[in-house]
């Protein structure tokens, strides 16, 4: 597998990975703001799936129809859709594309669910590797605390309930996240993750992220064309502070 740079794409892809509650979304958002303010061509991939794939995935989840194999396949379908329709065109057009999670989430999650690692890797080998992957490594307890405090309702598959690890969703979630962390750490060297200490202050982490990105990506190559409008500042609350209607919950 090669990176986008190695495949001579004019664009660059930067991904963040980590457990829920590791603070990765905050960090990638701040990276995006910094790049935007330098008037660079940057795009934050929001993972908007096409309606059809989304409908199938949500049906599968709501009705608990998914096995490890179909769970893996339907997420691969969803990823392929976003990859072909969204990421590749942006990278061809010379954007810095920021991804909150990439194929490594699937590698970790599907293997924890019992799919053969080589099969899962093979499934995703149509996708190029990110040019940089930051892995936010927080203590398991810290991540769990953040998630469990903020959002006491856990979704069935999110809690790994399908694995029958425990009848208690919270306990199941803990075991599941622990196993995810093991998988992430096991692939960290192979995929040259930049491992970030996510127990540090937000600003401290962001300082390191910006410095490394500036070192590794020739930012001057990504200037926006003259008079291209700057993207508007979003008023939206960060996800973790949102209070949404709970759906598909088991707790």
């Amino acid at each position: 597998m090669k990176t986008f740079a190695e495949l001579n794409f004019p664009g660059r892809l930067i991904a963040v990975e980590g457990l829920d509650g590791s603070g990765k979304s905050t960090q990638i958002y701040l990276l995006k703001r910094w790049l935007e303010q330098q008037e660079l061509k940057v795009y934050f991939s929001e993972w908007n799936s096409s309606e059809l794939v989304k409908a199938a995935t949500s049906k599968g989840k709501k009705r608990e129809l998914l096995t490890p194999t179909t769970f893996s396949l339907i997420h691969a379908t969803d990823f392929a859709d976003r990859y072909e329709r969204h990421l590749v065109p942006l990278l061809r057009a010379g954007y810095i594309v920021l991804c909150d999670r990439y194929i490594f989430t699937a590698f970790a999650r599907d293997v924890v669910r019992g799919c053969p690692p080589e099969w899962v890797r093979g499934l995703y080998n149509f996708a190029a590797l990110p040019d940089m992957t930051f892995f936010f490594k927080a203590d398991l307890e810290v991540s769990l605390q953040r998630i469990l405090e903020g959002r006491p309702q856990l979704k069935y598959f999110e809690a790994g309930m399908d694995l029958r690890l425990s009848a208690d969703p919270y306990e199941s979630f803990r075991i599941f996240q622990g196993r995810m962390l093991e998988q992430y750490l096991a692939m960290s060297a192979e995929f040259r993750f930049v491992v970030m200490d996510a127990n540090q202050l937000v600003e401290k982490q962001q300082g390191i992220v910006r410095e490394l990105v500036a070192q590794r990506v020739k930012l001057d190559d990504f200037r926006r064309a003259n008079h291209a409008p700057a993207p508007p500042v979003s008023k939206e609350l960060p996800k973790r502070f949102k209070r949404e209607e709970p759906e598909e919950t088991v707790a």
Binding site: A56, K59, P68, T70, T77, R85, W119, F126
Partner: protein
């Protein structure tokens, strides 16, 4: 068909997956048989399967039928995706694989475990051939469909494209967009495109045959003549030969 009194109890098959398979399934517990009928639209697959069901049930065998785009999970969405032609290649390919996996795990494997004869109206080979014709990577496809169980018999109903066209028009008023490979841009003329596409599909099936060992059946004969050949071969499978 005359009712029969003697019932043949099937012999166990040696089972394997083409690749990594489905985690956590005890293959030795699959007592039933998996019979696949492949072929283009208009090659007579559904007629043959209907005749086989009659014959098998008459012989005391329980049957289940599966086919492409029949899963609970994604069949509706897949149908819509095809109509709108909005998904790109890898996505559509994986969507079909999801449909297949859902039926494999929820119908085919449980039915085989319960001792049913499963009749599959197309299997992974059509899915692979379609993708190969569209230039997708064969190693990738082989890994993807490594989840599939090797069937006890695969029959490919071989009908030349010239005849497929005639049969299609005998049944429908128009050629199907996908069965004509119109998405490939082979020709703007639908008839030309159909002929080119079906020829390419046939060639790909021939190539797949080397790896997947299926029986080529001359599909230009009468339905009864074809069915007699299939019955003979399936009887041998049931007898464990």
């Amino acid at each position: 068909m005359k009712p029969r009194n003697q019932i043949l109890v099937p012999q166990p098959s040696r089972r394997r997956y083409y690749g990594y398979g489905i985690p956590g399934v005890d293959l030795s517990a699959l007592a039933g048989k998996l019979i696949v009928v492949e072929g283009a639209d208009g090659s007579g697959r559904s007629t043959q399967i209907a005749l086989l069901v009659e014959w098998l049930e008459g012989g005391g065998h329980a049957t289940v039928q599966v086919g492409l785009k029949r899963s609970t999970l994604v069949s509706e969405e897949l149908e819509q995706a095809q109509e709108g032609n909005i998904l790109s290649r890898t996505t559509l390919s994986l969507f079909y694989a999801t449909d297949f996996a859902d039926q494999l795990e929820n119908i085919i494997l449980p039915a085989l475990k319960a001792g049913f004869i499963v009749l599959a109206d197309r299997y992974i080979y059509t899915l692979m051939a379609r993708d190969l014709v569209r230039g997708m990577d064969s190693t990738w496809l082989k890994n993807l469909y490594g989840i599939a169980l090797e069937p006890d018999a695969v029959f490919y109903l071989n009908v030349p494209p010239e005849q497929l066209v005639q049969r299609t028009f005998a049944k429908n008023t128009a050629l199907d967009y996908w069965e004509s490979g119109m998405d490939l841009g082979l020709s703007r003329d639908m008839f030309d495109s159909f002929m080119k596409y079906q020829t390419a599909m046939h060639k790909t099936f021939r190539e797949l045959q080397r790896t997947y060992d299926f029986t080529m059946v001359d599909g230009t004969r009468t339905a009864d003549a074809i069915n007699a050949e299939l019955r003979k071969k399936i009887s041998a499978v049931l007898a464990g030969k």
